[in-house]
Subunit: 342 residues, 2 copies
């Protein structure tokens, strides 16, 4: 095992003292990066994900060009739907499309987590290629989506502002929903173990649509499955749980034993600290701030890090970086955090 030169993120996840705040941001690999946009013209989305050299090149880009303190594997949460046997397309600027969404008992029964290792076999060589390309400069974050968020896409068939069809499915067929969530959970654990085997240093789980649920539905359809994944993974590498809009579940997410909790921008640092005590927190600048003037990016970033403080804190955005983000603003965000001292 090689030691990682800049291990600020890992030390923060272990609640060790650090000289400054580590910084990375969600969706940092791709989207807004001019060099990525060039690659996009030559290769389809899943070509980029599955080709070890391309995936490595894209994953390392923000480390080299923007100076973040961690890399995150270039991939997509929807690969778990593919692992289960569902056809997924990612349309540029439109997001995922599933031509044949899951709505029936027969469809749920056909899904088979046992194929995960085979369908996602590219994860081993791509992750290893990424680790090689990183040359132990910074840690590598692996990831998956939460079972609830995967169900949202698999049942709805595409992105949605309210995922009404997905929720309706859960209300109409709670047993079937549970079966589907179990299968997604099983595939996710297999996939995360593959990433760990190939060398990722930590895992983030994205519950992107957790905040669409009421607290009681969250306890039914999201939390138990996250808990199962954390219990399987946390003994191996630290887990970061990010539930967008999930302020109401922070204490319960913390109780899973995860190393850190991600926050979106609708919760103030002081409120999040009050809710979670000594938890390691990650977040939470509104990604739209990065579309505004550089001066504002700097000011808002300083306000954020001041309010969180050094220690038990990882600077990040409150959701994925937007494709229309000016490259220089992403850099200003990172540099402002790196230059900050209490």
């Amino acid at each position: 095992m090689n030691l990682i030169k800049n291990d600020l993120l890992l030390r923060t996840l272990r609640k060790e003292k650090t000289e400054r705040i580590p910084v990375w941001f969600m969706r940092q690999a791709g989207r807004y990066l001019p060099d990525y946009i060039k690659l996009r013209e030559k290769y389809s989305f899943f070509e980029r994900v599955r080709n070890p050299q391309l995936a490595a090149e894209i994953t390392v880009m923000p480390v080299k060009q923007v100076g973040v303190d961690a890399a995150i594997l270039f991939s997509d949460i929807l690969v778990i739907a593919q692992a289960l046997g569902v056809d997924v397309e990612i349309l540029e600027g439109k997001g995922p499309v599933i031509a044949d969404p899951i709505r029936t008992k027969e469809q749920v029964e056909k899904l088979d987590p046992a194929n995960t290792a085979e369908v996602l076999s590219y994860a081993l060589p791509t992750t290893k290629a990424v680790k090689d390309a990183l040359e132990n400069e910074v840690p590598l974050i692996g990831f998956c989506g939460s079972p609830w968020t995967l169900l949202c896409y698999m049942v709805e068939g595409k992105g949605s502002k309210d995922f009404a069809k997905a929720k309706q499915f859960c209300y109409q067929h709670p047993d079937l929903a549970a079966k589907l969530l179990d299968k997604i959970t099983e595939a996710s654990i297999i996939y995360l173990n593959m990433q760990i085997q190939a060398g990722v240093d930590t895992i983030q789980i994205f519950d992107s649509w957790g905040g669409l649920l009421s607290p009681s539905d969250y306890r039914k359809f999201s939390l138990p499955y996250l808990d199962k994944i954390v219990k399987a993974i946390q003994p191996k590498v630290p887990v970061i749980l990010f539930a967008k809009g999930g302020w109401f579940a922070l204490a319960e997410l913390q109780a899973t034993g995860a190393s850190a909790l991600g926050l979106d921008w609708t919760i103030e640092p002081s409120v999040a600290k009050k809710m979670t005590g000594s938890a390691v927190l990650q977040g939470n600048l509104d990604p739209i701030v990065l579309l505004g003037p550089a001066k504002n990016v700097e000011q808002e970033t300083i306000t954020m890090v001041k309010n969180f403080g050094v220690g038990n804190y990882i600077a990040n955005l409150g959701h994925g970086v937007l494709p229309q983000t000016p490259f220089d603003n992403a850099k200003t965000f990172v540099e402002t955090v790196k230059n900050f001292r209490m």
Copy 2:
């Protein structure tokens, strides 16, 4: 002044004792009602809003057919953009479209709140026609959107999941945003006073996109303008403030002096009560529950009213009723509340 026969809502807003919980729901007039859908085929959206007989017929429909304890004027929050001189179209199933969104100093300067009374002059005869049609059975709720929510549409030009252009405008031109918000506030107060003059019994202000802001941005771009409207209106009729996703601002919204606070479904009754003490609360069933099986509608409604309890509470959904809601489920929701006793 005629006494209203069923004044449960008004007594609850005055914190008086009531024998049972009053119930109505956001967007109850229109959308999911079969008789409304028939009218939609004959008249355009703004024909329906501006014609006193049509507006009265639509407003009264849910009172007669679903049995709610209050009527809410059939209209749209975008009329304030029209009052200021902006062309707005409402496309069926797509929402509002503004062909020429507000982006420049010149555009903001051209907007004139002084024309509000003239442009929205139909509000007087329509509101009076509604009051006549209601025959003092239940109270009539007037409404407007929050200045922030209006800015969202006026700058973005249409609905959006993140209103990135609107927020970007605020970050780039905070002074211009303040000017625009001032003008929207002024027009809103004129319009609400017209509604009060014509006989509405209470006002709800919809801050539909307040929850997209960080708490500090909310204090900049939404709260001060809501506060100004509440201070102008609350002395005349009780005001209900509903900020979707605005859990983080509940205490500050309460401090405006508004009579009641609306809640979406992501906050538990006990948490909302803790945050607001003795405030009158309104909400908060996930509207998607009404798409599910009737048994589930009944169960979830009972859980909700049990948790809020009788007194200082108005039963409602956590956002507008969805167009695809089965009529019978809307009725089950209302009847379940009406039959509930502690």
